[in-house]
Symmetry: C2
């Protein structure tokens, strides 16, 4: 059993690394490469990766009532119409797994980052070095796909103990598109600021993980105080306000959750990365 | 030629009516009906409907650079990461046509409205009659699919003269999902308010069209003053503020554009309907 589990874990990490290591270079793509790879391409892989445990039930009133396609549930989630959901609907676990592992997730992330890079390159920068870009951590700078691929791609209830142990390991890979944006912004003279809902007890592991993943030279890593009860949206808006009060200009803001990019001051432009695996309120 | 054009127009309206008339009833859908219909199902229809004129070129820096799949361009557009675009990218005209006509658009609209209905039914209403829900007009209460199906589904540059004539006809059908939400809200005692960027010269035609489409008994129809230069986001946020100052509580707000639902006061919950055909800044 232990050996089988270890083999499954090895295969899992190999698969995730393969997905994340896929070149983000789009210049080689054909102009006519406009169709997405079938979400079934990764199905055998996902099937292998699916945890044995039954996944949690859905709490989406609308979805349960409507039996809407999982792709339409994802639309409603990604546009902030469906909120405060706790797990991916049970019947959408396979769909989300295919989305995350089958190329669709990478393609959506590329579309967002390509636009962010084009926007940044179009700016008339002051050169005073006071222009900053805010990055979230989980599913933005760092990818927790190695963790969620082992936990039902969000169909299992969130386990703070298990995720906490994973975060402490500080081995999460970079989301390649975000790292590409990060490096391009630094080359343009825009300073990255890391703003995360992770709390103080994860600061050291987060800093270690960011460095291992290639994120160096940021202006600041801002984490949530250990024992303060504050919602992510209010906390992050408040920290962005402090940046502006300190004289910085937030030219861009990117995250996977709407609570990363809503709430004044949002930044001059916001960019929403895909995340159909979990919701942060 | 004229006869051929008339035939094509007749076929077009028949096709659009068929799409919009598809029952929104989801209770009959199987629990396992989780896959979307292939976007190619409607392809022959779209091919027939495609205008002869060459569509406008794309101005999406990111997309042009990336050659990202059109589905990923739609993700970036619907999540407000790609902004101020003027036309659907030329290479995505067929994709958007298939999306709008092939069932995907209706399914995404259903997912959003099912959530909105579930949210409204979960409210503890005061019964004082001061609770309102804000509806946009174009691609929210009314569907302009009959127009856009004849104009490249957004791939042709916006023609204010042609669209103005279409709007004056006041024959746009209802977006069926929005009408279902509208009627349910009225049954719950929530008053609809229609808030549109259409200007004063279209008030009468808009009121006539709304009535013909089944939207009756709304609290107010708010249009933009004829000659005031104001962006949609500021105009709509200002009008929502007036509603709150008048003692109304905006329990919900639904539109197809981010400028419908961003800008305080947004309303207690916002719902984003799909619209990959055009952008309103």
């Amino acid at each position: 059993m232990a050996a089988a589990k270890n083999n499954r874990t090895l295969l899992l990490f190999a698969a995730v690394v393969a997905v994340l290591a896929t070149t983000g270079s789009s210049s080689a793509r054909s102009r006519w490469d406009l169709r997405l790879p079938s979400e079934d391409e990764a199905a055998p892989l996902i099937h292998m990766l699916r945890p044995r445990e039954a996944s949690a039930g859905s709490h989406h009133l609308g979805l349960l009532r409507a039996r809407v396609p999982c792709d339409s549930w994802r639309f409603a989630v990604e546009t902030n119409s469906v909120r405060d959901w706790d797990t991916v609907p049970e019947q959408c676990e396979r769909y989300v797994g295919n989305y995350m592992m089958g190329g669709h997730y990478r393609a959506d992330s590329r579309a967002v980052v390509d636009e962010a890079v084009a926007y940044a390159e179009s700016l008339n920068l002051t050169g005073t070095g006071n222009e900053v870009w805010v990055f979230d951590v989980d599913e933005t700078t760092l990818s927790n796909l190695p963790y969620y691929a082992k936990h039902g791609f969000g169909a299992e209830p969130y386990n703070s103990t298990a995720f906490g142990a994973y975060a402490k390991d500080a081995n999460a890979p970079a989301l390649p598109e975000s790292l590409r944006l990060y490096k391009r912004l630094q080359a343009l003279g825009i300073k990255p600021v890391i703003l995360t809902g992770r709390r103080e007890d994860k600061r050291e592991a987060t800093a270690t993980n960011l460095a291992r993943a290639g994120y160096t030279g940021y202006l600041d890593l801002i984490v949530k105080p250990q024992h303060v009860r504050v919602r992510s949206l209010e906390f992050k808006a408040g920290e962005r306000k402090k940046l502006e009060d300190a004289g910085y200009v937030i030219v861009g803001n990117i995250g996977d959750q709407w609570t990363d990019i809503l709430g004044a001051p949002e930044g001059a432009r916001t960019f929403k990365l895909p995340d159909p695996m979990y919701y942060v309120g």
